[in-house]
Each structure stands twice: as structure tokens, then as C-alpha cells.
Amino acid sequence: MKGFFAFVRKEFLHIFRDRRTLLVLIGLPTMLIVLFGFAISTEIRNVNIGVCAPDKDVSIARLVDKIDRSEYFTFKGWYGSAMDVDRAMKKGEIDAALVFSEDFSSSLMSAEGAEISVVTDAVNPNNASMEVMYLTNIVYGYFFSDTDSMRQSPLVPNLRMLYNPQLRSSYNFVPGIMGLILLLVCALMTSVSIVREKETGTMEVLLVSPVKPIGIVFAKMIPYFVISCMVLVITLLLTIFVLKVPVEGSFFWMILVSLLYIILSLGIGLLVSSLVKTQIIATLIIGMVFLVPVMMMSGMLYPIESMPYVFQLIAQVIPAKWYIEAIRKIMIEGVPFVFVLKEVGVLLGMTVVIFTAAVLKFNDRIE
């Protein structure tokens, strides 16, 4: 047992002697939070918009004024015809346009009603659909409230955005970032540090020592477990105080689920390290096999439901998917723990399977 603690001490020494890596580990979550929280955002802002209205009148002018005042759109100018709108869009002057039908205001009263075309540059489909949605909302809102003519409309939709009323993308990203960083710190760092010992030959010397092989790897996990907990705390502090994303549900369960995920990620690192011989391969495997799927397919950036069926199936075996879902539910939706039992169960199952495989594989290799 004494040998084991000497070993844990050595792992901490490694980490503290290598200040740069430690800084990266601590700096990375900060950077990602700032990046995703402020810079990268799926919200749209300051979209340049042009308007084509053959019969311009007060009602249209007021609508355009209202659009221009919103933070989402910037009014660029009036265009004479649909052709002009098209040309302006090609030149890049505008990203979206509203085209009013002839005799717009007078047709509003007629039986057939009036027509507005919403034109957007759909090269970026996400932005385009977002622009259409926002524009439609403004236009509807205007005609419901600002003119009396539509008051008798039979159906008034009452929209409520639950859990994230301001539609801030940080609500969506934060659980994803946590899933990503914890995996990076735990899996990548443990596997690289175990494989490094194989590369330098120190593993050979350690195996001849009285420390049990399994003790060697568990001693390696302890420092990274501690660092992961620090990263978790930093991420949460930034999330709550800088991004101002509230933790709606139980703090206790959120931490507990995160700890489970940290242990799972450590297991992944151990498994990878028992399969490969060089640090480069270990890094590549963690990067390609674990990190990229987390970015693309865990629901962090793109909703799983809109993926092709095959990818949806693959997403089910990505641990981060379940973690991110659980954290979203607890942190953002604030549901009681019973509602995340499924996610936690899956994570627990994965942890058991991965650790069993890793330990078996590790012992197998010693022989």
C-alpha cells in the first residue's frame, strides 16, 4: 500500500512539473466556455434586410421600422422590384428580404388577403430558417397588435419557450462543453500518461517492482480524477456566474452524475492505453474515436433526432450523449432525479463494461 501512495505522489509530481499541460487543462474549459458562450452562437444578429414594396405606405413603413429596431435585423434600403432584391442578395448587400404584394394595404381588407414574400439566402440553412422564423414572428406580431384589421382572427397562437425563454444558445452548449472537456481531461490524459510509461520503458521497471500492475493504473487515475473535479468546478462557476445559466435542478445530483461520467472517461482512457503502444496512436484514437463523435453526434451541436437513422443508432453508444442529456435535464430543465434514471443507468452500465474490459485487457497484456 505504501508503494501505491508513492506512486500517486509521483503522478502529481509529473503533473505539477509540467506546468504547461496543467495550464492547458485548466485553461481549456475557460476558453471553451467563453468561445461557445459568447463567440459561437446559433442566434442570429444584425441580418441585413432589404424591402421591396411597390405601394409603400405608412403601415409598411412602420413595419419596416419595427424590423429595423429589432436586434436581429438591420434595414438596408428599399428596392424597386424583385429583380433588384435578387441582385442585391447576389452582391451580398442583404441576406434577407421582404417583398410586399401590389396594393398591399388595401388588399389586407379584401377577401383574398394580402401577400408578403419572405426571401432569404439559404446557403446557410440554419441561419435562413432562423431568419424566416424571426421575420414571420415580427410580421405577425405587427399585424396582430398594431393594426385593428386582424383582431377578429380566429386563432391566436400563444408561444412559450420553456426552460430557455430568451433562447440563449449557452443553455444548449454548456452541458455539451462539460461532456467534451471531462472526456478530454480524463480519457486523453490518463491514456497518454500510461502509454508514455510504456514508450519510455519505465513500465517495464514498474512491473518488476512490488506494486501491483492494477495499482499502477489506478494510481494514475487519482490525479486526473482530482484535476477533472477542479475542471468541473471551474466550468460550473463560469457557467453560473459568467454565462449566467442557472442550475434549475438539484446541484447534488448534477455533481454526482458528473463524477460518474468522469470515472467512465477514466475507464475509456485506461482501455485505450491497454490497447496501444505509442502516445501518438493513443491521442489519435481518443481524438477520432471519442472526441469527434462527441462533437458531432452527442447532440451537443446538432440534434440527434434530425440525424439519419444509422447515426442515431451510433449516438446511443456514445457515453457523452447520455451525460449531456442527463445534465440538460437536471441543469436546464430542473427535473427531479427520477427522470434521469435512464441516462444514469446507461452511464453506469457503460462504466462497468468499460472497466471490466480495460482491466481484463490490461492483465492480459502483462503476461
Binding site: F5, D18, T200, T202
Partner: protein, 246 residues
């Protein structure tokens, strides 16, 4: 029997149909330098793994430092030192850290590690370098440090796997002086090497060819037995019949 620190009888290791170590029997006496010679692929490493408790033999008996290789590998590990041919050390840590780590791994008390480390560092001239990171040391010093680390816990047997690989001839000779030094203090040395001139420094040597020990005795005995002028010649005579090569 009492004087033998390693006693091996009919030790065999098979990997599938391949017999890496084929029925070897030998003993190593207390306080001697035993040279374990053989070409690459002759089975030296496999044999050494069984002696150091890293793997089990397929059949045969063996006692190392008084413990059974089948049932007491943990006790064997506590009583042996091992220096790998890579001079495996933690290059990002200082000389003192490295010594402390390996002392700790062998369950030594901090104070004991410090006392023994000071004693060894003084003897090897390391005192002024104790806070230097290992990666900044020249190759010959790394080798010395790896040696120091391997004997920090005062093992009964010191296993040295190709300890002079990649070191210049002057440093090689100095290194053998270190080995003599620890052997004088009562440690038995078990050395593998493929430098045949180094074999002359050993008390007794064994030569492995194709998994079998083909010759065993003191350098002088072997030379007269095979009518050769040097150990290198003896090895040539034996290796001519080898089927496995590099």
C-alpha cells in the same frame, strides 16, 4: 543449496508451438556476477521475465532469492532490483524525485530513502546534480542513475538487462566497476549482455542458443572446454549451430 540465490530446474516456456525457453537448468551463487549470454532471440528475455516474476513458466521449477517463482512472485519482486536496457527513468523529474519514487515504490520509509540515496549519490558523484532534471543528464549519467535506482532498496539480486547498451567503452568499464562495487556489498548480479568482452568480467557465464543453455561455467573453464582463445570464439562455435537468428 544455501549459497544459491537462483536455482532453476527444467524451466520451459512455450508460446503455442514455439518453445522460447527449452528445459534450462542452472544456479546462481550468492555474491557472484552471473553473465547470461546469448544472441537476440535466444530466449534470454523470456527466461529473465520468468525469474523476475513477470510471467509464469510452462513447466519446471525455480527459486529466486529463496522464493518459489510459481507461488511467491510478490516476494521475489520485493527482493530483486531491475535495470532495463532503456535506462528507464522519469525524464521530466529531478534526480532526487526519481530516487524517491523508486524507493517509495519498494515500500521504503522516507528517511531510509533519503539516507540510502545520499550514500549512493555520494559514492556515484551525484550530489551536485540531485536537483537536475533527468532529461538534462548525459547518457552515461542516466545509466548510472538507473543503476542507483535499481539498488536503492538494497536488493538481494540485481538483474541488469543489457546495462551497457549505447554507452561508450570508457563508460562501460566504469560501469562494471559499479557492478563490482555493489557485489562487494553482498548483492548478487545477474547480467545479460551481448558484448562478449564483458563476459570476461563475470564470475560465471551461461550461453543460450535456441532456448537452451549450451555452455555454463567460469570464463576460463569455458575457454579451455571449447579450446578457444576468448569468450567471443566460444560463442562463435556455439552460435554456428543456431537455427534462430535476429
Amino acid at each position: 543449496m544455501e549459497d544459491n540465490v537462483i536455482q532453476v530446474e527444467h524451466l520451459t516456456k512455450k508460446f503455442g508451438s514455439f518453445t522460447a525457453v527449452d528445459d534450462i537448468t542452472f544456479e546462481v551463487r550468492k555474491g557472484e556476477i552471473f553473465g547470461f549470454l546469448g544472441a537476440n532471440g535466444a530466449g534470454k528475455t523470456t527466461a529473465m521475465k520468468m525469474l523476475t516474476g513477470l510471467s509464469f513458466p510452462t513447466s519446471g521449477k525455480g527459486m529466486v532469492a529463496g522464493y518459489d517463482i510459481w507461488t511467491q512472485s510478490e516476494l521475489i519482486k520485493k527482493n530483486i532490483g531491475y535495470m532495463s536496457q532503456k535506462f528507464a527513468l522519469y525524464s521530466d523529474l529531478t534526480v532526487r524525485d526519481n530516487i524517491g519514487i523508486f524507493g517509495g515504490i519498494y515500500g521504503m520509509k522516507r528517511a531510509d530513502v533519503r539516507r540510502r540515496a545520499t550514500e549512493l549519490m555520494e559514492r556515484l558523484g551525484f550530489m551536485s546534480e540531485k536537483d537536475v532534471r533527468v532529461k538534462e543528464l548525459p547518457q552515461g549519467w542516466k545509466q548510472k542513475l538507473a543503476f542507483l535506482v535499481a539498488v536503492i532498496h538494497n536488493p538481494r539480486i540485481l538483474f541488469l538487462d543489457e546495462p551497457t547498451g549505447g554507452v561508450d567503452p570508457a563508460a562501460r568499464r566504469q560501469f562494471w566497476e559499479l557492478i563490482y562495487d555493489v557485489v562487494d556489498s553482498g548483492i548478487t548480479a545477474f547480467v545479460t549482455t551481448h558484448y562478449m568482452d564483458e563476459a570476461e568480467y563475470c564470475s560465471r557465464i551461461s550461453m543460450m542458443v535456441d532456448g537452451r543453455i549450451e555452455a555454463l561455467g567460469s570464463p576460463a573453464e569455458l575457454k579451455s572446454e571449447f579450446g578457444a582463445g576468448s569468450i567471443a570464439d566460444v560463442f562463435d562455435i556455439l552460435a554456428r549451430g543456431a537455427k534462430r537468428s535476429e
